[in-house]
């Protein structure tokens, strides 16, 4: 059983007991525990089940690399799945649940999958899902969705109760990793005067050194860490952040760090996580190394752990995973675990050393403590279901026969160490294979390059390959100095502190234990614990032709779990290399992608959630709209009223009321969102002639003209009314969503093509409130307010004039998007609300009603006016919409002219705009396609058109629509069919798109 030891535990405070829950059971731990160490102290080795076979899984590591011990943390709005127990600091009242099992952790129905393992080989999904199609819906989706997967997503009805923030930081040298290498590198860099940011993912400084022993400058490593930390804290140019993980390194010295502020102290005010967005001139990666598991049968049984993790639990938290332990290794380092366990009073039955030569000084020390060392041996198999019961031992150089069985309850394994090269690799740093250590380490000749073409990442310590304490510290000193130098500071060269440890004999790579294990053993030898990938799976992938490591990864799912293969990758690709008969460096690694470990979605979002996710643009009349029944519709970043709904009224009743009233009495539209761009200068007319398809230079001051804008591809991008203000000034109206885009479009051409033209453009959209006064009574209300002549003679259709109405500073545009008598009146934004209210008050006797965007749409559709985004979709040219009248034939050039001469653009088979009238008066479904004769290559009916706008017209009491139809204008009167997604066939007659007041009499009074 796993228990708390009487002594040991440098990180826990035994005087402070903490109560927490796991799967509903109350347990006790100490302050300083991780959830993993506390669970072990409560003899809870099994912490979850695996992804595919639902096998019992216990904790295997002690830090960020943990693949198994994933739990759901918290409750309700603070529930979070897939949290690593090994990096979760224990706090009073913590609640946790294990994952991926049903009905419970101890008894899980899904575990039947393990019995079916031979039918669930590598690439199972690909192989099964090819056919037959109905299986998708009835078998795979409902069944596999339930049995696969990890934690459950939080309840969609809850909102994360915590807050998060982003933090921007700049540093000359950023050091990632607060082990002895990181501390020393930071010190070396800081002594040059460089501004240093040092981040450490755990709550503790010093990394592994205080556990692994040795001396630094004659001190215990722990004491040296304290001393160095104090030195760094005393330096003004150094910032130290614990609980802050270097998550990713990106182009040109950009880095992300993930700080967990209150995960360990819930309830404390302030953000829970903080995402540091760092720009550093140089980045030192002192990220240490991760121990590799050994691949032997049953290496996933709870109780089998990394050797380094096992001694972490003893030294740091005073817990042992078992009482009778077997250590399996291919290197000297694992003997430290045997020694530490033995000294802590745990029975160490044997060290099984795959090397025939056995170990060096550490092995001698182990023997002197009475530990039996078996060189040249291997674990053939670990027996036990939910807990290690026995180990079968055989020769390493065999197939696993002639076994000796030894009863035990925990196994420590060590397959050597792999440098954490993730951050080095994120931005293109390359790796080289180190034969002696059997690992990939950073290739100093090929670092990630910065803007100046020089490397900007410097690896330090174990992350760079060295393993012994002395080498690590010397390497860190060099790295710190090099980073400071590259950041433009003169480092003070100093001797690295002297680190001393026992001399170790070389490790020997062991990729399978025993070396020639037979098939039954290989089928139980796990590579990726979380995703259930075994040695046999990778070998099968190789046999099936997956030669690329990237393909093998995806085929087998090796390294695709939430731990991203921190433990499995090197073992997996070594297995693949062997299966392919290639060398490991030839097979290479998969790509290392940020973040290093998963970071919270909250941290990525930062403050950008809820109301501040995206600021809303509000017109001067917004608050009035809000108070008067506006049913809001997002339009670009604006909110516009879809309709003004009265109490007791439905939205569509409101729309119909508004539509009729605008035609019969008086409607007001808040049109302030329309884009307004001033174009000014001696060459403004010439410029607008290039921007618009029609002529704008010959527009007279005081006049307006409707214009179309196309891209250089010929496609319509915007439309609107242009008014000439004076000799060298035009005001261009754009669509609501188009203002910024069109302003940018104009700037782009002015800055990058016609930079010698004397033109300025300014986006004045928000400087004005604009109100459309629409309907037969429009002039009456303006005359009642009085102040300027708004007669047809004074301001004829498509004219404009400045003046005062009711005391307001007005610019009156006599334009109409409804077909009614209409003025769009711009006033300074500050006067917008008052003017709106004045119009409503004065308009009472004329039947005034505000109307929203849906009424606007219906009114324009009744008149056959196009809407950018409805009739256009980025593939439509003006000619498709019958707008040839708005395309100048006189102009030599305008944006889109040449494109509109291309053969596809002049093809007479392009669908053209027509009106559509359903035979029975119903409303056509939006976006419906018209079906034609015959079928296409996929057996689908050919299509001959589609609906672009469709509404119920209250004025006509029937459905009206516009659409693009093959040879449409030549087929007036013809009835075509639109199959709906509801199974009905809608029949519609092709008609003229102008449904209402075809002669245009109403706007011209």
């Amino acid at each position: 059983m796993s228990t708390r030891l009487q002594k040991q535990g440098r990180l826990i405070d035994r005087s402070k007991q903490i109560t927490f829950k796991f799967n509903g059971t109350t347990m006790r731990g100490f302050e300083g525990d991780t959830l993993a160490s506390a669970l072990m102290a409560n003899d809870q080795m099994m912490m979850g089940r695996s992804f595919k076979y639902h096998r019992p899984r216990g904790v295997v590591a002690s830090g960020a690399e943990e693949p198994n011990a994933l739990v759901g943390l918290g409750e309700g709005a603070r529930f979070e799945p897939n949290q690593r127990a090994t990096t979760t600091e224990l706090f009073e009242g913590l609640t946790s649940i294990s994952q991926n099992h049903w009905p419970n952790l101890e008894f899980d129905v899904g575990a039947v999958n393990t019995a079916l393992a031979r039918f669930l080989p590598a690439g199972f999904y690909y192989k099964m899902f090819i056919h037959p199609q109905p299986f998708w819906k009835h078998v795979y989706e409902p069944i596999i969705r339930r049995s696969a997967g990890l934690g459950k997503a939080p309840d969609k009805e809850t909102k994360d109760a915590d807050t998060y923030e982003h933090f921007y930081a700049f540093a000359d040298v950023m050091v990632v990793g607060g082990g002895v290498a990181g501390l020393q590198a930071a010190k070396a860099a800081a002594q040059s005067g460089a501004k240093v940011l040092l981040v450490e993912q755990t709550a503790h400084w010093g990394g592994r050194a205080p556990v692994d022993g040795g001396t630094i400058d004659g001190m215990e490593p722990g004491a040296w860490v304290e001393q160095t930390l104090a030195e760094l804290q005393a330096m003004d140019n150094v910032t130290l952040r614990a609980r802050t993980m270097g998550a990713g390194v990106y182009d040109h010295g950009y880095a992300l760090a993930y700080e967990r502020l209150t995960d360990h102290t819930p309830g404390v005010q302030g953000p829970r996580h903080r995402l540091w967005r760092v720009r550093a001139k140089q980045i030192v990666t002192a990220t240490g190394a991760i121990e590799r598991p050994l691949s032997f049968a049953g290496n996933d049984v709870p109780g089998v752990m990394l050797a380094s993790a096992m001694r972490d639990y003893v030294v740091n938290w005073g817990v042992t995973p078992g009482q009778r332990v077997i250590v399996a290794t291919n290197n000297d380092d694992a003997y430290r675990t045997a020694i530490i366990l033995k000294k802590a009073g745990v029975d160490v039955l044997r060290v099984i050393d795959a090397r025939t030569s056995g170990g060096g000084a550490l092995a001698d020390e182990a023997r002197s403590l009475g530990i039996r060392v078996d060189p040249g041996k291997a674990i053939a198999k670990v027996k036990g279901g939910k807990r290690v019961k026995k180990v079968a031992i055989c020769n390493q150089d065999g197939i696993g026969g002639a076994r000796e069985e030894v009863a035990c309850d925990a196994v420590a394994m060590s397959g050597g160490w792999s440098p954490v090269v993730h951050l080095w690799s994120h931005c293109g740093g390359k790796l080289i294979w180190d034969d002696a250590q059997a690992h990939f380490r950073p290739d100093p000749a090929r670092p990630p390059l910065g803007a100046d073409g020089n490397g900007f990442v410097v690896p330090a310590g174990a992350a760079n390959g060295p393993v012994s304490l002395g080498e690590v510290l010397a390497d860190a000193q060099t790295a710190g100095e090099a980073a400071a130098n590259a950041a433009g500071f003169a480092p003070k060269t100093a001797d690295a502190p002297k680190g001393e440890v026992e001399v170790e004999l070389p490790m020997e790579p062991v990729w399978l234990m025993p070396a020639n294990a037979d098939t039954p053993l290989r089928m139980k030898a796990w590579l990726d614990f979380q995703n259930d990938v075994k040695v046999s799976d990778v070998q099968l992938a190789a046999r099936e032709g997956y030669e690329s490591v990237e393909h093998t990864k995806r085929y087998t799912t090796l390294g695709m779990a939430t731990d991203q293969g921190k433990l499995s990758n090197i073992n997996g690709l070594a297995t693949l290399a062997k299966a392919l008969g290639e060398d490991i460096p030839q097979v290479g690694t998969t790509t290392f992608r940020p973040p290093y470990t998963p970071i919270s979605m909250g941290a990525i979002g930062g403050e950008a959630r809820g109301e501040v996710f995206q600021p809303i643009r509000k017109t001067p009349i917004h608050d009035w709209n809000d108070a008067n029944g506006a049913d809001w519709e997002p339009v670009g970043h604006w909110r516009r009223p879809f309709a003004y709904v009265r109490p007791g009224e439905g939205v569509h009743d409101a729309v119909n009321r508004e539509v009729k009233n605008a035609r019969e009495n008086l409607g007001l539209l808040d049109a302030s969102t329309l884009g307004k761009i001033i174009v000014k200068g001696p060459d403004a007319g010439k410029f607008l002639d290039m921007m618009y398809t029609n002529m704008m230079s010959n527009l007279k001051p005081g006049k307006c003209r409707y214009g179309l804008m196309c891209s250089e591809n010929g496609f319509l991008i915007d439309d609107g009314v242009v008014a000439r203000i004076d000799d060298d000034t035009w005001l261009c109206h754009t669509t609501t969503g188009g203002a910024e885009r069109i302003h940018g479009h104009m700037e782009e051409w002015l800055q990058t093509e016609w930079w010698d033209w004397n033109v300025y453009v300014a986006n004045v959209t928000e400087q004005y409130a604009q109100i459309a006064v629409v309907g037969p009574n429009a002039r009456k209300v303006l005359e009642k307010l009085g102040g300027m002549d708004v007669s047809d003679a004074a301001i004829p259709f498509m004219g404009w004039a400045d003046g005062k109405i009711g005391g307001f500073d007005c610019r009156v545009y006599r334009i109409s998007f409804s077909g009614e008598l209409s003025c769009e009146i711009a006033v300074p934004a500050s006067q917008g609300l008052a003017f709106w209210e004045a119009l409503l008050e004065a308009g009472k006797e004329f039947g005034v009603m505000p109307y929203g965007t849906e009424a606007l749409h219906i009114l324009r559709a009744e008149k056959g006016f196009i809407m950018i985004g409805d009739e256009t979709d980025g593939t439509i040219i003006p000619q498709d919409l019958g707008l040839n009248w708005a395309i100048s034939k006189k102009k030599e050039d305008f944006l889109g002219k040449r494109a509109q001469q291309r053969s596809h653009m002049t093809d007479r088979n392009r669908w053209k705009l027509v009106g559509l009238e359903t035979v029975d008066g119903s409303v056509l479904p939006d976006g419906a396609y018209a079906a034609g004769e015959g079928v296409n290559a996929n057996g689908q009916r050919n299509v001959i058109g589609r609906v672009t706008s469709t509404y119920y017209s209250a004025n006509l009491d029937r459905g009206i629509a516009m659409g693009l139809v093959l040879h449409g204008p030549d087929r007036m009167g013809e009835v075509i069919e639109f199959p709906g997604t509801d199974g009905k066939i809608y029949k519609a007659k092709i008609v003229d798109p102008v449904f209402y007041d075809k002669e245009g009499k109403k706007q011209n009074v």
Binding site: E748, Q751, D893
Partner: protein, 109 residues
């Protein structure tokens, strides 16, 4: 995430402040051009592994368009320069030559 120095306002701008504008120094073809000329103008672009000349806009800054010469393989930036030029400045060409002797890009080298 790239940083480019805006040659107008002098700011070392983060990529989040910038808008990419594709290949630099395109020659515009309009009415009267052949089908091939116009097609190439619209659609044919350089896609080099190495030296590239690009348009960027300091969109969340001063709003100006500028040109950047950089290496698409290493992300090294050779320099940024005005958008009001039909070809890279001599200074930029020299800066590229210093790092990538013998380079060429379209008709420039």
């Amino acid at each position: 995430m790239l940083t480019l120095r805006c040659p107008y306002c002098g700011v070392d701008a983060d990529e989040t402040e910038l808008q990419a504008g594709g290949e630099a120094h395109l020659k515009r073809y309009g009415p009267g051009s052949t089908e091939d000329e116009f097609h190439d103008y619209l659609f044919t672009r350089e896609n080099p592994k190495g030296v590239h000349l690009e348009r960027w806009r300091h969109a969340a800054g001063c709003g100006k368009w500028f040109h950047a010469a950089r290496c698409t393989a290493t992300l090294e930036v050779f320099g940024t320069y005005t958008a009001q030029t039909g070809e890279p400045t001599q200074e930029i060409k020299d800066a590229i030559s210093a790092k990538r002797p013998g380079w060429s890009w379209r008709e420039f080298s």
